[in-house]
């Protein structure tokens, strides 16, 4: 059975007809070609598929679009402002916080939600916010450093 859903994804509104059991992750990847959101387990355990729904991190592999009518979804493709990278993206690239890069989209979005809530988080707060996003490459060190750097740049008063 298909269902009609209406979503705003990265600022663009979409009306879609999708099978009722199709998860947000697959809708993003298959119906909207937003392949930046990744599969890690399909069971809500690894955080790789994290997107923002109305600003809050959500595991898209467990989210049914039917529950998200009229919601605003942000994926990694929606982080940059046109050609200008989000400070988190810039910091992750500069500090080597993305190695294989597979967990990176989910971590960037979780970090974005954190910084919206707490613009200058402590390192411990960053650890707590990212505890649901597994990364097997970095040992998290450069990721924590990059979130700190982005927070610093985002809160610095422009000269």
């Amino acid at each position: 059975m298909n269902i009609r859903i209406s979503l705003t994804v990265n600022g663009e509104s979409h009306d879609l007809l999708v099978p009722v059991h199709k998860m947000l992750l697959e809708v993003l990847r298959e119906d909207l070609d937003l392949i930046g959101t990744k599969h890690g387990c399909e069971l809500g355990e690894c955080g790789t598929c994290t997107v923002l729904v109305n600003g809050a991190p959500v595991l898209s592999c467990l989210a049914l679009p039917a529950d998200l009518q009229e919601s605003e979804v942000t994926t990694v493709e929606g982080l940059a402002d046109g050609g200008r990278l989000h400070p988190l993206q810039q910091a992750f690239a500069e500090l080597g916080a993305a190695q294989c890069g597979y967990c990176t989209p989910g971590i960037l979005l979780t970090a974005k939600a954190l910084l919206a809530d707490d613009p200058i988080p402590t390192r411990q707060r960053i650890r707590e916010a990212l505890a649901g996003n597994l990364c097997r490459c970095t040992g998290y060190t450069k990721i924590l450093d990059a979130v700190e750097l982005a927070a610093l740049r985002m809160t610095r008063v422009p000269a």
């Binding site: 990847r29 937003l34 392949i35 930046g36 959101t37 990744k38 599969h39 890690g40 387990c41 399909e42 069971l43 355990e45 690894c46 790789t48 994926t75 990694v76 493709e77 982080l79 940059a80 990278l85 988190l88 993206q89 810039q90 992750f92 690239a93 500069e94 500090l95 080597g96 993305a98 190695q99 294989c100 890069g101 597979y102 967990c103 990176t104 989209p105 960037l108 960053i126 650890r127 707590e128 990212l130 505890a131 649901g132 996003n133 597994l134 990364c135 097997r136 490459c137 970095t138 040992g139 998290y140 060190t141 450069k142 990721i143 924590l144």
Partner: protein, 819 residues
């Protein structure tokens, strides 16, 4: 003399960092081709069974199903990554040997239909007794998992002896015998394996796959599909984490190829997380017995190591893994006499193989914990003891391995200093002694600090199949735009190998890394690189890239020299210009220099090749272990243990790594930090274990791995030794720094609570068990206390080469070839 660099040594972003932070990077599962079908594998629910019948009729008739195949639809050849272990079938025909063995495959209009059809395939199995441990496999020789090997259920049995160990033990003041067990664990890459195959009507085939070794997959596909390798093209998609888990040819790759050939459409097969746990090829469970003689001063007189590896159901890299449990230990400390016996046993579990450190973390754990025990008995500081017994640079080990530079002494000094070892180690030790009778109401968290060291290869000295060709090749093409294209078969699995190629070429040519385009591994376009394993890529591809860039530079210099009418040997390449430093105003832009070069020579395309020095020991088995150079690491861990829960909380890890030269310190630190993290996971929580015949924890939630909360602050210190074998002096960073972490944690836990857990992982349950034994006045040790009844081969006795001068350094095949 200090070398001056412009690109090397800079903390530059990786060249693919931008694609990774924007979500643009296309991994194998992100590829979508027109008319693409989706495939699924049907896997065995039995650990050991004969297949008596497969009926695909019902599955084939499902609407939307394009094809269903079984082993009968593939050529009847067995394959395996090592020539000596050709024991796998993509789809099993007669017998399954583990839960998860593939028996059939479906291609359909979508994944759901393929999945539904898989469930309609009827397979009749006649179950056979399943052997789930080393002990069971040895106890039941009448049940044969394979018909080949060194005995019933024995895949490999090796014994090597270098010098007289018994005499060495007789000369020792202290001889220790210890038994250790290291549980298996898995890579757990964030990306599940995926492949897309596209067979075309001209009889050709392209495979995109998340593989660490497109070259070996290319070779083996030709054999498996019985077609010419010239008609197969393997393209390595960016790999979302490998760690050794994507180094074999896999059933899903082969099935996708065959299905595509049959249905005339591209076919994608993406594995589920549960399937990835069964694909495995991860860390071998290893039982170890180690006997070492020490003098009062802490010198090692000799060492005898026995290892039993639980290999799982197939050979995979297992013969190499078996040797690796023995051959690398002598590279760290002076070990004049050495004997090694090892055996790999088949069991009905997913096959083990190469995980980060390949076969060496297990014996490293045994050796470093034993050293700690010996230091305590001898009244020596564990750091000082290690410091005085380091291998001499540019000498050979007992087992004939040539060691070049060794920066371990400096590494030890640096971590001792940074961690406050001199203060903390005696202080925590004294506290542990004096607080022995602390009353129950006082906080029962105790601090400990522990140390361990290690060494690892920078690239295996021999290829997987015997040949005299380069291990790595690079073709460089200079463009009139001033851009340079690197074609190289290296596979970037996140470690940054593509970036390293760009940095090295930019360094030699005096251009910006941004001017360098690195083409991903593609067997139809890029020269062979053997693969991303054994920490070989930076060194081997790096040397090939430098050679190609130097040849290109020589051609350009010749043209610029003619134009400027100055001798070629006065020219320099920097700041995107070529010119004479004493007349830099007349220097020509690099793009212009390329035009001059092309006008003089024609198309500017140059090749570079690298093969490691031929240093295999002159004895059977001497091919495993040699490497152009070895990296070294020293690690100190500080933690506290809760005596009520047995839980160890890690506070800080200090690690110093002899990197030779940090081509990009940011990437080296990333490799070191990732290694430390993975070592922590292995040390305290990760375990690939089985309940009855099935995986006990085949999901990300049940298989525990460290999150941000369990990963402590990691303090990385880089030590540079400028090794003559490495590209601009560089050694490896991706595997070595994992090795000392597990024993350093074990040693710290012992210092904190006086419990020796001689077994990995060191879980809270085991610590509590040790504390309980301690309370009852029993030995506070948890770990194996017996070894299997097993007869090793008569050892091959070879004279120890300990202390002999190193073989010739920096001798490179292909260095003088004129192109």
């Amino acid at each position: 003399m200090t070398k001056r660099f412009s690109v090397v040594g800079q903390p530059l972003p990786k060249i693919d960092a931008w694609g990774k932070v924007t979500g643009d990077t296309r991994y194998a599962d992100d590829l979508v081709l027109p008319r693409m079908a989706f495939g699924k594998l049907l896997r065995s629910p039995h650990a050991h069974a004969r297949i008596t019948r497969i009926d695909t009729t019902r599955a084939t008739s499902v609407p939307g199903v394009y094809a269903v195949i079984t082993g009968a639809d593939l050529p009847r050849v067995k394959f395996g990554i090592l020539p000596v272990s050709q024991d796998e079938e993509a789809l099993c025909t007669d017998k399954v040997r583990m839960v998860g063995d593939a028996v059939a495959a479906v291609a359909a209009v979508d994944e759901e239909t393929a999945d539904r059809a898989c469930r309609l395939i009827e397979v009749d199995y006649e179950p056979l007794p399943a052997l789930m441990s080393i002990q069971e496999s040895l106890a039941h020789p009448e049940v044969r998992i394979h018909e080949y090997g060194d005995g019933p259920n024995v895949h490999k049995n090796v014994a090597l002896q270098f010098g007289d160990v018994e005499a060495a033990f007789a000369a020792a003041d202290l001889v220790r015998e210890d038994v250790f067990f290291y549980e298996g664990n898995t890579h757990l890459p964030m990306e599940q394996h995926a492949a897309v195959a596209h067979a075309t009507p001209d009889g050709k085939l392209t495979l995109w796959s998340s593989t660490q070794t497109p070259h070996y997959v290319h070779r083996l596909l030709a054999k498996i599909l019985d077609m010419s390798a010239a008609h197969i093209r393997v393209i390595a998609a960016p790999v979302g984490g490998g760690f050794g888990g994507k180094l074999d040819p896999f059933a899903h790759e082969i099935a996708a190829c065959r299905l595509s050939q049959l249905i005339g459409r591209p076919v994608k097969i993406a594995c589920t997380r549960e399937e990835v746990f069964y694909i495995h090829r991860g860390r071998h469970p290893v039982l170890m017995w180690i006997k070492t003689g020490f003098t009062k001063a802490g010198d090692i007189t000799g060492c005898h190591l026995k290892t039993w590896l639980d290999g799982g159901a197939y050979g995979s890299y297992g013969v190499a893994s078996t040797f690796y449990t023995g051959v690398i230990n002598p590279v760290t400390y002076k070990m004049p006499v050495y004997k090694f016996e090892g055996a790999r046993i088949f069991t009905n579990k997913p096959p083990c193989g190469p995980k980060r450190g390949h076969g060496t973390p297990q014996p490293r754990f045994a050796l470093e914990v034993q050293l700690d025990k010996a230091a305590e008995q001898l009244g020596l500081d564990p750091a000082d003891m290690r410091r005085r017994i380091l291998v001499e640079p540019f000498t050979k080990t007992a087992n004939h391995l040539t060691v070049t530079t060794i920066g371990l002494g400096e590494c030890i000094d640096k971590v001792v200093e940074a961690s406050g070892w001199r203060d903390k180690h005696p202080r925590y030790h004294a506290a542990a002694q004096s607080e022995a009778g602390k009353p129950l109401w006082q906080p029962r968290r105790r601090r400990g600090i522990g140390m361990a060291c290690s060494s690892y290869m920078t690239g295996a000295g021999t290829a997987i199949y015997w040949n005299s060709m380069p291990h790595s090749g690079v073709v460089l093409r200079a463009d009139r735009s001033g851009g340079v294209t690197v074609l190289c078969g290296a596979t970037d699995i996140g470690q940054g190998s593509d970036s390293i190629l760009a940095y090295l070429v930019a360094e030699v040519l005096g251009i910006d890394p941004k001017d360098v385009h690195v083409h991903p591994a593609d067997t139809s376009l890029t020269p062979v690189d053997l693969g991303s394993y054994s920490s070989r890529v930076t060194l081997m591809c790096g040397q090939a890239a430098i050679q190609a860039a130097e040849r290109l530079r020589a051609a350009i210099f010749k043209a610029v020299g003619a134009k400027l009418e100055v001798p070629v040997d006065t020219l320099a390449a920097r700041e995107r210009k070529i010119g004479a430093p004493n007349d830099w105003d007349r220097a020509v832009d690099f793009a212009k220099a390329v035009e001059l070069g092309e006008a003089m020579h024609g198309v500017l395309a140059f090749a570079g090749s690298y093969a490691p020095p031929k240093r295999a020991g002159k004895y059977k088995g001497g091919g495993v272990g040699p490497s152009p150079c070895y990296s070294y690491s020293a690690c100190v861990v500080e933690l506290s243990v809760d005596e009520d829960t047995g839980e160890a909380e890690l506070h800080d890890v200090w690690i110093a790594h002899d990197i030779g030269r940090a081509l990009n310190p940011l990437l080296v630190e990333g490799q070191v930090e990732g290694s430390v993290y993975m070592g922590i996971g292995e040390a305290v929580m990760e375990a690939q274990v089985f309940r009855k015949h099935v995986h006990k924890a085949p999901s990300m939630l049940e298989y525990k791995s460290p999150t941000t909360l369990e990963t402590p602050e990691i303090h990385t210190i880089l030590v540079e030794t400028d090794d003559p074998e490495g590209p601009f002096g560089a050694k490896e960073a991706g595997q070595g720094p994992l090795l000392p972490v597990m024993p350093a944690i074990a040693n710290a836990i012992y210092q904190a609570v006086g419990v020796r857990v001689d077994e990995i992982p060191i879980t809270p349950e085991k610590v509590l068990k040790g504390l309980e034994a301690k309370r009852q006045g029993k030995p506070a040790r948890v770990g194996p206390d017996r070894v299997p009844l097993f007869t090793f081969k008569e050892p091959l006795v070879v004279e120890s080469a300990f202390g002999a001068p190193a073989d010739a350094i920096a001798v490179r095949p292909f260095a003088d070839e004129k192109i």
